[in-house]
Symmetry: D3
Subunit: 242 residues, 6 copies
């Protein structure tokens, strides 16, 4: 294992540089540009005073997400989903994941009959766009909720915890934290892990098209994820404290 090295030169348990810029655009109630190295995702939180049909009249709020990738966020140009006339399966899967993850830290009764939509648009992709999106969207969500609190529209704060996400995977036999594109495309096993600040798992999505992973590998991967998410939760708090 002495010869092991990651394309980026990072150590196995090292995150990429994380940056969280708040108020990146001016109209949204929350607007965060999150960077995990070269992966950059613009996350906006928009408040609307209505809820989907299935919640109408129940006094509960809703938190949902949409995900998109600019056509040239990627190495080669990807077709624009709006032009193709539909969102692909990967997009829908990711935006469902982001929505579920963020709902896990919200008391929807405290939110009242409002919808907060988290739009996560990838400006530049280098692996891990969904985990960056969740991590950044949390900050945008808190900013949007704080807007409502400042306007005295809420009786109590509906944010009941923090949520962050990171990917882990087995790269050339070694479990590593926060895969970039070079690693991701050369890696049979990867897992996206979403956790809250109580150390609980919100989402766990592991995939092994090539090499099936054993229980001990799983344990190593989860330990890496716990470490990384701890650092991401700290970065979120630092950004919010700024």
């Amino acid at each position: 294992m002495t010869s092991f090295s990651r394309p980026s030169g990072r150590s196995a348990d090292q995150l990429r540089d994380v940056r969280i810029e708040r108020a990146f655009t001016c109209h949204a109630e929350g607007s965060v540009l999150v960077s995990f190295g070269n992966t950059r995702v613009l996350c906006t939180a928009s408040i609307e005073n209505r809820v989907p049909g299935f919640l109408r009249g129940k006094g509960e709020g809703w938190v949902t997400a949409e995900y998109g990738m600019l056509p040239r966020a990627t190495h080669t140009r990807t077709d624009r989903e709006a032009a193709r006339g539909k969102q692909g399966g990967r997009t829908l899967e990711i935006q469902r994941l982001i929505g579920r993850s963020l709902r896990a830290c919200v008391d929807r009764n405290a939110l009242g009959e409002r919808t907060i939509t988290l739009d996560c648009d990838v400006l530049q992709a280098d692996g891990g766009t969904r985990t960056a999106a969740i991590t950044g969207a949390y900050v945008a969500l808190v900013d949007a909720v704080n807007t409502l609190m400042a306007r005295k529209e809420l009786k109590r704060n509906p944010i009941i915890g923090a949520v962050a996400a990171v990917s882990v995977g087995v790269y050339r036999g070694t479990p590593v934290l926060d895969l970039d594109y070079a690693e991701d495309s050369d890696c049979d096993t990867d897992m996206n892990v979403v956790m809250n600040d109580g150390g609980g798992f919100i989402e766990l999505q592991g995939t092994a098209e090539g090499h099936a992973f054993r229980r001990d590998e799983l344990n190593e991967l989860l330990a890496l994820a716990e470490k990384g998410i701890g650092e991401l939760l700290a970065a979120q708090q630092a950004a919010l404290g700024a």
Copy 2:
């Protein structure tokens, strides 16, 4: 925990009755009706002598899946996706999962430039349709490959293992195996686990919209899944041996 009971009366680590009927319909190269209790999914495997564009000319095969639900497979009628003009996010997510899972047990070079499509159509839904689909589709896949072997179209058998799937979740505080609809709709945490016959994990999809699960709960859930998948792998072999 003495008072704990499942709606079905099963013990916590007990699967529903599993049935695997081969040759359920006559045209497909593999056709399996799989039942996990009241969940019934028709899985057909269709062989075509062509591959998607990205594989053309590489000598490799492809295995893919499509998933559907008959409109009245469910308690109340669901809109027909063909009439609505698109497949929903849940459908796309499930069929991508089935496809990845089955590809994990196939040597695509041995398959040659062929596509095997696994159509998994839910005739009756009572929870766990995606895990039943994977478990049944594996048998249909083997039948389709055996058709090719019998026709001497393949030099070696491309099936390199067996794959089965089951759900686990925390129901009223207790980890249980193979959730039915009554449990699934009253359960904050559930996980779909896909494993191979070497004890490796192929896919792990855990979700906790309500209660985030701790590491020890995760371990209990995985242990239940391992037990259940062992029994499902045996049921597949029994069906194939028949």
Copy 3:
């Protein structure tokens, strides 16, 4: 004509084996698996307490149908309509036919402001799927109406007759009853006939892409259809009496 023989060995005026299994699935108010030989169609009837916009507030009910074919119900795999993003012309034509046929045996005022949707999904196709669908959907419809009657939700029974359907055609110069796929694909003239138990014609759809049929051939075809439909009406009653 001594040398005439049908691929199946049936006589010219002989139906295929007809089976009508009620309660094939458990959620729908009516659920029938109908088989005309190897053609097998699952017909479910679903009751909803609302009507389409154009009937709202008129005190009348509605009966409608949707039709689908599982991708591998056919000899070679057919694209899934949900994946292609629209229902084809053939599908729409058939489901409109089924809907009109079933409405012909229902007193929509007696039904009240309810919709009964008949979903006819072909599990296995061997010719005559639309006629099998109509014949089976009638039984599912009666079961659904009986559910409403048993719940005392209706003042009087809205079923005002029985409806069944069969195909006829000229196969190699001879008029025959109930074409299977081998005959259908080798036959220039075919007609789908829907009749009620009073001997009246509900729908008549004759097509002659190749050989135009003469008045006397039409008469022979109608006589065959009348015979076949008599037997199908009897099979429906037998199934319902069970």
Copy 4:
């Protein structure tokens, strides 16, 4: 029956005024404005030197049809199908009928690898648009074929007969010919009949949502249709002879 009268004052076996104007527009190889009373349909025939995929390389041609209705061809405005993003079931059903009907009078081998598309667009609707469309499209088709003959592109004439169509129905108890909108919307039984000049039936589409028709009524309706189609075939020849 002495008191019987049609809204238009026509006798029971009387067609509306039929007009067939050739060369109505200038670009198409055949362009016919056909009027059945106030129903006016523009039928153009377009020749293209290619065939659909399933015919490529077989030396055979194809004849197909598309049907449309201008939004305000009707009493109240109908949504534009192009704006709604799909053709409705009625449209698809009608254009399939027109295509099959016209193919019945063409020797596709004589046509060679060409497609003739018949676009039938309703400028003004007053009942019977599909039968007017078939009747007019035949003339446009002949004009297009004559263009090819004049250019010496065909060895022999692929037109092997004439085709015309008319509707019949039971209006207030009396079988009548060529229903207009006032009759059509007040009539339980109607049938569209397509015949060739040899007296053969090409298509027969009878529908009885209200009153099921008996065999003797069917016979009366067919007799009316035969009479009307005779007159329409004569009108076509007169127009072509002009």
Copy 5:
């Protein structure tokens, strides 16, 4: 410039023959067939007693337009937009232009909560379909409004001016009026001009994919447009006075 000649033999500032036939079809409140030479567009105006959501309850009316081209209005057949499942960019652009142009001559408060939809369907295309459509749609709009006035449904006439449109362009170095197809397809610069009867500009859409036009060319083009539109406004009045 002595050698300059237009394909049609017209002088540089000469319109094609303009014809405006009212009441071309019978159902619409306004129905005009407008011809600019061989370009023929059917413009119907339909009144509906409702407005789009964003205007509901404001006491204002709406005027909007839809545009279509019959598949064989053009030299070679164009795909039917309804069959392709969407309206193209050119179509949407043109119908937005027609709608804005007509709204410029309507007092929407005087119209009350009604929508007038102008359907402009090109029967035959030879260049300038959008300008012919605007010019014809104005007459259809006036006819529809006069219908409302005659029914005493309006307190005052909402028509506050007249609107007409024409194209101009630089053809082989010479500015010309009212381009036909032969000129349009051989011309780098063209401009569509919409004006009212007060000499004001409503819309100006100039495009120069090839040769960018200079300020003096622009002035010449606008002078030609003013002349042409004067004649078109006169033709509209003549038609309405008829």
Copy 6:
């Protein structure tokens, strides 16, 4: 005019602050973030070695554009076009305009059989997004072409001029340059002007839903546009020289 003032405090002929940042993202051959005040558009240029069907084999290249708006680029959230399943008319109109404008400065023979796609995605909108997009896309296009030149893939430079765009309009009676959102939404007349560095007009799109503009107003507006575009062309050159 003493009392006239713009919401932003700018003088009538003053542009907003213009910023042009090159290499804003890392994958595209050209990537420019252009700001006209608070309007910010990310313009990427992507090179692909293929051309659309209608140009194949002609040795010519193609330049095209796509336009999008992030859902919360605007004051209130706009539906995502990818989720709605189609691009709106405004979007299509704008991307067609951008494409035509950029093609006007490219020698497509010199480009060879390549397509350059300009994706213009609005991150933040405050009026004038299409003019900012054109101005920024020009710089991205030059960067992409320079990439090809540096790789020695082109014999000569296909860029044959510079192109920039600005809006002008009549705001409360006064012609002003470069409308921001506050002006745009309170302004009856506005015009988008695209010019090249030779002083020629490429596109002119003037719209007057409210007050029709007179010839002298048009002249004033064009003079303002010429001034503004001169400054924008200088800003482009400064950015490219950096």
